[in-house]
Symmetry: C2
Subunit: 387 residues, 2 copies
């Protein structure tokens, strides 16, 4: 059965339909060097097939349709590709910009938005047809054209994003797709480089590269404007060398605590979300890139920039201390938990391998070959905000 | 296409496989009087088909397999039925007790546990085969046979549940299915009648019927034992008439606040989860049954016991006040949100109807006929703990 299914999927034959398959446990692994996606399933940790022809997938990310059938892949070359996982094929591909850096899908699943570096701005597409619905140039208050970063979906078919050069945060309201409206927040800080939205969709936080601190917008109270938090978060006066900017989307809260990879320093910051103050720092093995909470919130998994990108550390949240350090392969770029947290998948780019770990025993349970794997994405993301 | 799909699904023909379908937006509506499930999808709010022959479905609940293909239905008659949603058919049905009251699926999806009234106890089954894996009689420390209530899944393939007559909380560890181990907590309070586990899988809370208060077990620190919280939660000295016991599973947290339907009183309790103290009460239109937070946590939806079971109230969380009262039909038994909260589905048993509401405008967007509908369950539950 499984073999037949794989054959069907790999060739994208209708044959695979003869063996109906659910989509709740599917995932996609980005094979960045080959412009290819590998389709996997997390119940038995196996490969199901692959989809090629997606262009430049370095630093690529993707989102899923609300029925968990389609993926929308954001390529570095500005390509937006709609993939059908049930038939393992590309449905449609549009090159919508020269250089893009990710995107998001609206709360109701009808719109997908892409953040662009070149020429900058945000484009919004219909998820059924990939037709352009809105084209929003990112010109700051002073007329500067900006790269757009940190594009996140917010409740009410709103997209929140940041303008790197202009130092602004914009809220794009697509409730009425015929009349997109933009609310702009200016002077939010120098060079916002990445952002996240809290899991409840309330707080939008943009990390600043040009100065220390984080710009925070409370979407429940936008009239209060953007507030600065964590003034000590950043490279600091010494402007330490930074081998890879940390990703903020890993941010998640355990109780009222949130965890944030430090920039340049070998530390993970602990933040009290009731006061938005730093309440501690956990020493780690290198410059953290992702600091991700295991579903359930009891353990935090951290990967690192060069030269420590062969290590992953598991932190015990109750004691805020490192529980175990593992070396799952060379060039660990990404970590993805199964929806209820019993396992985590790790991509080892320079080992051409994805490994699957049991999170309770912190032991390896499976290995899958993959060519230069980077991002790993499970379909459960379809049901969550800000991913 | 849709019609063809429906036909295929309704008859459970392989025909429907010719039209492959994803499962991320599927749902099941319990038609309690007819022992039937209605299959729906939440993208276009339509009916896809129905599955009959499930026995007595009064007060029935169900859980989903981790791939979102199969449902495990817990019938009041002790029947456990495995349903294949892709083929709209019953895969297997076992009558495993005389009277059951719900169940749960393990974190890794390999085990389903059922809580029984008659003869009492918990039975655990393999989710692939429905073969019996463990049979745990519920005999209290004093030898009393107990009804089992409040069965919830916890991290690590643990099931937590309460013994009504004996007044105990047990943790059933199924990590090694060949050697189930039970940890018992005795004298936790009189007549635990329902329970919940917080979304992070950390706290197990059992409501008490025989006295006021809630028994709480911190699963991160089980050695600390069961602690009593919310001493004023209950019927109180006057022992008010209670027309329908509230359900605790609706409990959800917004920031550090949790909301709990009062027993007997026309109030929703506000609880600070950092201190587990009551910090407020919101007056509502009747005796609340479910108090459920809309994903995003900004609004709380409440339904009521007789004589107010034709009303639903929407509470604004920031101001802790009633925003709107709607009358969606007669006998509102259940509310289910779409995974990212843009819509809510309401079952109106005595109007033979399910209605779909836009949560931003609080306006009705669709109506679906259903015979005496009770529970509504969307597949996204597969990806969450404690549901």
């Amino acid at each position: 059965m499984k073999r037949l299914l794989c054959a069907g999927l790999m060739l994208g034959l209708a044959a695979c339909a003869a063996n109906p398959r659910a989509t709740g446990d599917l995932g996609l692994v980005v094979e960045r060097a080959d412009g290819r996606l590998q389709m996997v399933e997390s119940t038995h940790s196996t490969r199901l097939g692959q989809i090629s022809g997606l262009g430049d997938l370095s630093h690529a990310s993707l989102v899923f349709s609300r029925d968990e059938r389609f993926a929308f892949v954001f390529g570095r070359d500005g390509g937006l590709t709609k993939v059908d996982m049930l038939e393992a094929r590309i449905v449609k591909r549009v090159v919508q910009a020269g250089n893009s850096i990710g995107g998001a899908i609206s709360q109701d699943g009808t719109l997908v938005a892409v953040a662009n570096y070149t020429p900058g701005g945000v484009k919004v597409f219909d998820t059924d047809t990939l037709e352009l619905v809105a084209d929003i140039p990112a010109l700051g208050a002073d007329g500067t054209a900006s790269k757009v970063v940190g594009l996140e979906d917010a409740p009410g078919n709103v997209f929140a994003f940041s303008l790197y050069e202009a130092g602004e945060i914009w809220l794009l309201d697509m409730k009425d797709r015929a009349k997109p409206s933009v609310r702009k927040f200016t002077h939010i800080g120098k060079q916002p480089y990445d952002a996240l939205i809290t899991e409840d969709g309330r707080y939008y936080l943009a990390g600043l590269f040009g100065e220390d601190g984080i710009a925070m917008l409370d979407l429940w109270n936008p009239d209060k404007g953007v507030r600065r938090i964590l003034d000590h978060y950043g490279r600091g006066q010494e402007a330490l060398p930074v081998y890879k900017m940390p990703h903020l989307e890993g941010w998640a809260a355990s109780g009222n605590l949130a965890f944030l990879p430090a920039i340049g320093r070998h530390e993970v910051l602990v933040v009290d979300m009731t006061t938005w103050r730093e309440v501690g720092r956990i020493p780690v093995a290198g410059q953290p890139v992702f600091a991700m909470l295991q579903p359930g919130g009891r353990r935090l998994w951290v990967n690192f920039a060069l030269p420590d990108n062969g290590k992953v550390q598991v932190i015990d949240v109750p004691s805020l201390s490192v529980l175990k350090t593992i070396e799952p392969g060379q060039g660990i770029l990404h970590m993805e938990f199964t929806p209820r947290g019993e396992r985590v998948w790790l991509s080892a780019r320079d080992s051409d391998q994805v490994s699957v770990w049991d999170t309770a025993s912190i032991s390896k349970v499976a290995e899958l070959p993959a060519m230069k794997p980077s991002g790993i994405f499970f379909t459960a993301r379809a049901h969550r905000m800000g991913l």
